[in-house]
């Protein structure tokens, strides 16, 4: 592992991540990626430590990824699933967290459908003066930092496998397409991509990318939002209500999962129309740079966010790489949070 100083005690949001922190995560993940290519894929780094996956919102895929990352660091894992838990018995979330703290948990990986729950748990741990770390594994429509970091790692290792670092994205055009409004993945990615110096283009139907959201994001970023209907343009963040200007000369296209529940809420006319307008296909990719790559956080609705043939095309799709990167990046995050503890 790279010898480095890491002072962040919780990973809750990427909004205030520094370039040094991004680079430390990327380099540490690269080291673990190398470990994962060895015959013996386990390292004793977190032996005796306990990683508790507190998934108040169920997710097999993300939970498995964190669980395997923890096991490959030789940590012991505890899985908490809301469905079979004391939550139904009226216990508060903070009390559940404190129970896992009292059992001896070193790192809590927290997912919840309400924004802010991981922050609330982290604040409570700090108030108590304990050394436990909290890692946000997705909270409501707020953030999903480990997903954005694995997206970043996937892109950076593609550009320079030997030395992934944030500056590699400088000047790249990256399109984020889909349900921006409801996406915690988009929010976390916006922070990291803007920090990298990339040009970020958001594209979605107006119902999924309202002006108010654009203003909010611009304000958070400290950039001035200028409306030039039908799309805003405030470097380095651009917002479009049509797909084409976002795809034009893009280096990377990040598609977002479309929750089918959005239909019932009358935010979209139909899945078919959505696919026609904002679904990514090989034809539409011709607008992009020739060696453009497509990402998706999964699980994918084939034929909605992305065409089935494009998803399976190794020339364009990074979707499988993202999952693989997920193990290395989550090992890195657990390592950085946990290595100072014992």
């Amino acid at each position: 592992m790279p010898t480095t100083t890491w002072n962040r005690h919780h990973i809750l949001s990427l909004a205030d991540f520094t370039t040094t922190e991004y680079d430390t995560v990327l380099q540490t993940a690269a080291s673990f990626q190398e470990v994962l290519s060895r015959r013996t894929k386990k390292v004793p780094t977190l032996q005796g430590q306990v990683v508790a996956n507190l998934f108040f919102e169920s997710s097999t895929r993300t939970r498995s990824s964190f669980e395997l990352a923890a096991k490959r660091l030789s940590a012991d894992t505890l899985n908490f699933a809301a469905a079979t838990s004391s939550m139904t018995k009226g216990e508060t979330i903070l009390d559940t967290a404190k129970t896992y703290l009292a059992m001896g948990t070193d790192i809590m990986v927290v997912r919840h459908r309400e924004a802010g729950v991981p922050n609330a748990i982290a604040a409570e741990m700090d108030r108590l003066g304990v050394r436990v770390s909290v890692l946000n594994a997705g909270d409501g429509q707020h953030e999903h930092p480990s997903q954005a970091l694995l997206d970043l790692f996937t892109i950076c290792t593609l550009i320079d496998p030997a030395s992934p670092r944030l500056e590699l994205l400088k000047g790249k055009k990256i399109a984020i397409v889909g349900d921006i409004l409801h996406s915690r993945v988009a929010r976390s990615n916006i922070w990291s991509l803007i920090a990298s110096g990339a040009e970020v283009h958001l594209a979605a139907p107006p119902t999924l990318l309202p002006k108010l959201f654009a203003e909010y994001i611009s304000e958070e970023l400290g950039v001035k939002s200028q409306e030039s209907s039908p799309h805003f343009s405030t470097p380095p963040l651009f917002l479009h209500w049509q797909l084409e200007p976002a795809l034009q000369d893009a280096d990377f296209v990040m598609t977002l999962r479309l929750q089918k529940e959005r239909m019932t809420a009358h935010l979209l006319p139909s899945l078919r129309e959505y696919h026609q307008l904002f679904g990514i296909t090989r034809t539409k990719l011709q607008l992009c740079k020739p060696n453009v790559k497509v990402l998706h956080p999964g699980p994918v609705n084939r034929g909605v966010e992305i065409s089935s043939e494009l998803m399976d095309d190794p020339e364009f799709s990074l979707i499988q790489s993202q999952v693989t990167s997920g193990i290395a990046v989550r090992m890195a995050l657990l390592y950085l949070l946990g290595s100072g503890k014992a």
Copy 2:
């Protein structure tokens, strides 16, 4: 670990626990508490042994505690959860247990909402002449021995951290408050506390502490129950239909979880009235000894059994210590049951 003789093959009830057995558990747990404070928290004691958590009634908190205890002893764990199991396919409980026996389970940790299930499984294992041990992790309204033992350990280590032993409780006044009638925790605690020579005061509304129960408990304990309405008094067990005489000069107050289902059964007027009459608050604690401590087996209904501010007050609340003690005590129980096996 203390070198000791331990002859009990199953832990099903505390009704016939001897002083030596209590002290062995307390001393063994103290050794593991020390292990848990080390950098490397794992010991190889039960390597290669299998601990099966057969939770016919779901409980994340207790299951996680047993699972972590087993993992810290380097045992392999199997989790059986009734919801996703063959139970729905009509298999009997004994057949499920025998299946886990045949797979090579060494220790079965059993929870069931019917009283007597762990005993029935243990009896079947003995009939078959096999060496597997059964540990009752809560059966109906019968017993929850590991909870009472961790309560005991929590109290004893507070009095003498270096050498927790049963006699430390001699002459202490301990109040158990709440839904005595339906509580397996109360039943197990009554056995251990009476054995210690403590004075045990039960306090609950008459619907949750009926005369018949008082007579049954007294008979079991071999003491004569004398009614002196509104409360009985038969040393060393005292029963009260009001909170105040139980709290008067108490050294420890054990509160019990109130199942909200009791409301529907018309056993209680309202949660608010219950809290006013039997909920523990800082004000009510002024009746107790100045350094009184409060316990609760969790999960807590804040503002019902105990006020929210009291629960979070480290001066009075032992609730977090109980959870921590749970790991050490369960490691001790698994160790004592398992160490003679391999």
Copy 3:
């Protein structure tokens, strides 16, 4: 472990298993059975490898068996359960499998209620050119190879514990009784038993053993089916619509689980009548060879497929041995699939 060549990359069906393959599984399982009798039951064979249990159909018993087998080989395990998974989010089965592949899974143990799913996953893995192995843990009414192999191992080790091998069954009469039509266990057993040179007698009511099925099976086996109502007789496979001719002089009786859902489908009059006609009892066993043994894949409906007293009679019942064999056989299968990988 026996030094042997094993070239099969997936275990999906026993239809094309060779004698050498059967014998390799049996001998490898015998080696692991010996390991399981030692004080230290774990071997480091699959350390660092990942076994993912992808159970799209829930099964605690089979999942626990595979999980324990993997743990005793020191593999890391991931459990995927359909109920709490992305399946509800619309992801396809192949995408789920590819996600677990991308995480670094070495062996996928797959159960699904549709026939052919494990084959489809294996075909996709091969198409992708990856080294991951797929092990069918039960697919619809198609096959359940590990169950048939553990049945085979149970029988062969009974005949010659030191050297279990396929030829030991040559000339033995084996009755398979029950819901043949819907049983993946029966299908897999038919392949292995016919391959061994045993005489296989199927017995069931006509609704659960239709003529069409008899013809299909005969064709698959390459034998000619001759009707001689009320039963067919085409050596080495015989089909009966009555129990008695199947039991006559049988060496082994394999009973099958009766899914209660069959009643609702009007395939059977009543459980009681089924038990009277096809349920196995000590009295009916008098038709068999004196030292006949009875098997059942579990979970058992006591008093339906088999009488309760017979199930518990160690003189006749191999049901517990089957579960124990399951661990050794599944360790052997994971070892054979995994040992060439790292």
